[in-house]
């Protein structure tokens, strides 16, 4: 019941008691081991954060510093320029940034919400009920994830076209919902199943209706599951670019990844400064989203799976 009743533990803030790793060793050995781990920790931090740092710092450098024989590791105040961002956001010969941002935000959030809602319903059916066709459904949502979408681009295009939804947010959103749904259902199902029926039954004895018991008792315990699957849906929709390229052919209805890609082609990887500025702009919303949900996310990831 641990996962169901305790708040999920978060690596950033939280707290699992340190394992009694060194209990059998001498204190000195333990201390030197701790130093080794701390050094490893710093190395991990530097390795994982450096590309992000490099992207951001390059994006503020003037072109002559970006394309210099000696790279600038620590930009001084003289090296600071917003020109790359000006080029990326307001550059004339490429698709505009702000409409792309708007489209991306809308597509992503609508996909996220709709996929979560219908996946949640399905996961309740799978996790709480036993019915004919249940196993077939579970296996097919696994198999569906193996199909390479690149082979079906033309079919997707035809379908969306026949519904008169090319270059519309709804057209792309529908495809994104379908693409994240199998995984979302599959994941949430585990979370639903992990919440013990006894809790609901206890609430029903206390006078709740079955639906009431579900919403008051089970649903709150599913929050971490919804958050972690939501993160997945968010990332999928935010990053996707092949479908977006095909469905959103007008410059004013581009999404950010398509925008970044035309940008990369237009500059052919020579204007690295502006390209880094564009990349930073695309990454910022994801980082913000992660910061908002990270507290709820990581512990939730396991809740469904760890029960065995």
């Amino acid at each position: 019941m641990a996962t169901a009743t305790t708040t999920p533990s978060l690596p950033t803030t939280a707290a699992a008691r340190p394992l009694p790793a060194g209990a059998a060793r001498s204190p000195r050995k333990k201390r030197s081991a701790n130093v080794v781990f701390a050094v490893l920790g710093v190395i991990v931090f530097v390795c994982s954060a450096f590309p992000v740092y490099w992207m951001v710092s390059s994006s503020f450098l003037p072109t002559n510093k970006v394309r210099a024989a000696t790279p600038t590791f620590f930009p001084g105040p003289d090296d600071f320029t917003l020109r790359n961002y000006e080029t990326a956001i307001f550059g004339q010969n490429r698709a505009p940034f702000l409409p792309a941002l708007e489209t991306s935000l809308k597509v992503t959030f609508i996909s996220l919400l709709v996929a979560l809602v219908i996946a949640f319903l399905a996961s309740v059916a799978l996790g709480r009920f036993r019915f004919r066709g249940r196993r077939a459904f579970i296996v097919s949502i696994l198999i569906v994830q193996m199909i390479p979408g690149e082979a079906m681009l033309l079919t997707y295009f035809r379908m969306i076209d026949s519904w008169q939804m090319l270059n519309t947010i709804i057209g792309l959103t529908i495809l994104y919902i379908a693409s994240v749904l199998p995984f979302t259902v599959w994941t949430l199902r585990g979370f639903v199943a992990a919440v013990p029926m006894e809790l609901e039954e206890a609430a029903m004895i206390d006078g709740c209706s079955r639906t009431g018991a579900f919403w008051r008792v089970t649903f709150p315990l599913l929050a971490p599951g919804l958050v972690s699957t939501g993160v997945f849906a968010f990332i999928q929709a935010w990053n996707e670019f092949v479908l977006a390229l095909v469905i959103m052919s007008r410059p004013e209805s581009m999404t950010l990844p398509v925008w970044l890609r035309t940008f990369q082609q237009a500059t052919k990887a020579t204007d690295w400064g502006a390209l880094m500025a564009g990349s930073t702009l695309v990454a910022i919303p994801v980082v913000i989203f992660f910061l908002i949900v990270q507290g709820r996310m990581t512990g939730g990831l396991v809740a469904g799976a760890v029960k065995g």
Binding site: T63, T87, G91, Q92, N93, R94, P99, T103, K106, I110, V114, I118, L153, L154, F157, R158, D161, Q164, L166, N167, T168, I169, I170, T173, I174, L245, V246, S249, R250, P251, E252, S253, T262, Q265, A266, T267, K268, T270
Partner: protein, 431 residues
């Protein structure tokens, strides 16, 4: 019965869901749904590729069209050359098709043969008839029908800056040319800038030595020409230049040549003549050039790559574009009006000023005087096109040419590369 009820519920739920969604989307999108459904409203979309068409010409097209067709609007949407065939295959076959599109002359056949374009045969005379550039008319014709009109041609010339090469005389024969670029090479300066992926310029070496991309036998099958003795000789010479007279990375491409050129890292640059515009741009332009230094009008000059004997030009790839009206365009008549403007003397004059060769033979004298125009004209006279097969665009799209030339630039075995390239080309063209 239960099943039926279930199905009914399913359908009902989906419908409700879809209705709810579309209501919410149409309220919030704001992205253009204009021009898609209303017939004859007259908002046409023109797709131009890359930055080849100068801004003045774009502006002229828009204002002229909108003045001649009151109430109608024209929007230019810029596409990129990379992945163009992929994008057109879907975009032109859908209901939200653009109304007028530019396409590379060597790519046109893939779409004319697929029935993607409006048949312009009846309007051939009106558009200019035999005055249109013949090789481009051929590119835009399939099965006796005329689908895609010439837009412009861009012969490749050799550009150099006096600030970098000094008083080196202009070479007059092919052998002299190769010797000159080799002599101009230093540790930091490419004698001839030959990035590996640039097969278009690399082809000049093959043709200059008598090789071919592919030849068609009488029974219609294609045979690759890189493995012939002439082809091998050309590739070997190109590889020699790539390895000894070139400092560009082996897997880089020919885009943005003004960057190394303006940095003084290039002695001779083989490129379409309009590259002079990018090189001569101001240092603080959005796409910076070096108009007051290496690329200043006094320093910058050009010549047509010389042929085997003095006074001749070497064969270069006939680059350029066609324009066509997609079959699925909702405004074909208006698109045709815009097409006429794009072939007019005024519009083509603006292209010519930017270093492009106009779409009609009679418009050649619109080209400004000067070394670039002379070099262009000389090079255009010897231009060669790619094999006339509807499948040629697939060869280009597969990237096999880039791959093979990159392998050359890496110092790979010429005979093996040529054999593999021929096999790949034959597979696609005969497949």
């Amino acid at each position: 019965m239960k099943r039926n009820r279930l199905v009914a519920t399913t359908v009902a739920t989906t419908t409700t869901l879809a209705l709810g969604l579309s209501a919410c989307a149409s309220g919030s999108t704001g992205t253009g749904t204009d021009g898609t459904s209303e017939g004859g409203a007259g908002d046409i979309r023109v797709w131009l590729v890359g930055s080849d068409t100068p801004d003045e010409a774009r502006e002229y097209l828009k204002t002229t069209f909108e003045a001649e067709n009151p109430g109608s609007t024209l929007t230019i949407e810029e596409q990129s050359w990379g992945g163009l065939v992929d994008k057109y295959t879907t975009a032109l076959s859908g209901s939200d098709s653009p109304d007028l599109i530019e396409i590379g002359n060597t790519q046109a056949a893939a779409f004319t043969s697929a029935g993607a374009f409006e048949d312009l045969t009846d309007r051939y005379e009106e558009l200019g008839g035999d005055d249109l550039l013949p090789s481009f008319v051929e590119d835009g014709t399939y099965d006796g029908k005329f689908y895609a009109a010439p837009y412009y041609s861009g012969a490749r010339v050799v550009v150099y800056s006096k600030e970098v090469v000094g008083d080196t005389p202009v070479p007059t024969t092919w052998d002299e040319y190769v010797a000159t670029v080799k002599a101009a090479t230093t540790d930091t300066v490419s004698g001839l800038w030959t990035p590996g992926k640039d097969w278009r310029n690399g082809m000049t070496f093959v043709w200059a030595n008598g090789g071919q991309i592919a030849t068609q036998a009488s029974d219609g099958t294609w045979e690759g020409g890189f493995s012939t003795p002439e082809g091998i000789k050309g590739l070997e010479q190109l590889q020699d230049v790539m390895l000894t007279a070139n400092r560009a990375p082996a897997d880089s491409d020919e885009q943005e040549p003004q960057v190394p050129f303006c940095a003084g890292q290039v002695a001779y640059l083989a490129a379409p003549a309009w590259v002079s515009g990018s090189i001569g741009a101001d240092e603080d332009a959005e796409v910076p050039g070096c108009g007051s230094g290496i690329g200043s009008p006094e320093n910058l000059s050009a010549f047509a790559a010389p042929g085997k004997t003095a006074g001749e030009a070497a064969p270069v790839l006939a680059g350029g574009s066609n324009i066509a009206i997609p079959m699925r365009s909702a405004n074909k008549e208006l698109a045709y009006e815009a097409l006429k403007i794009m072939l007019s003397d005024e519009y083509q004059g603006l292209l010519a000023e930017a270093g492009l060769v106009p779409a009609k033979v009679s418009q050649a004298d619109l080209m400004p005087d000067g070394v670039f125009a002379q070099a262009s004209a000389a090079a255009a006279a010897e231009a060669i096109s790619t094999p006339a097969s509807p499948k040629w665009a697939d060869v280009e799209a597969s990237g096999v040419l880039e791959d093979s030339f990159v392998r050359l630039a890496q110092g790979g075995d010429v005979t093996e590369i040529a054999a593999a390239l021929d096999a790949a080309i034959e597979r696609t063209l005969n497949g």
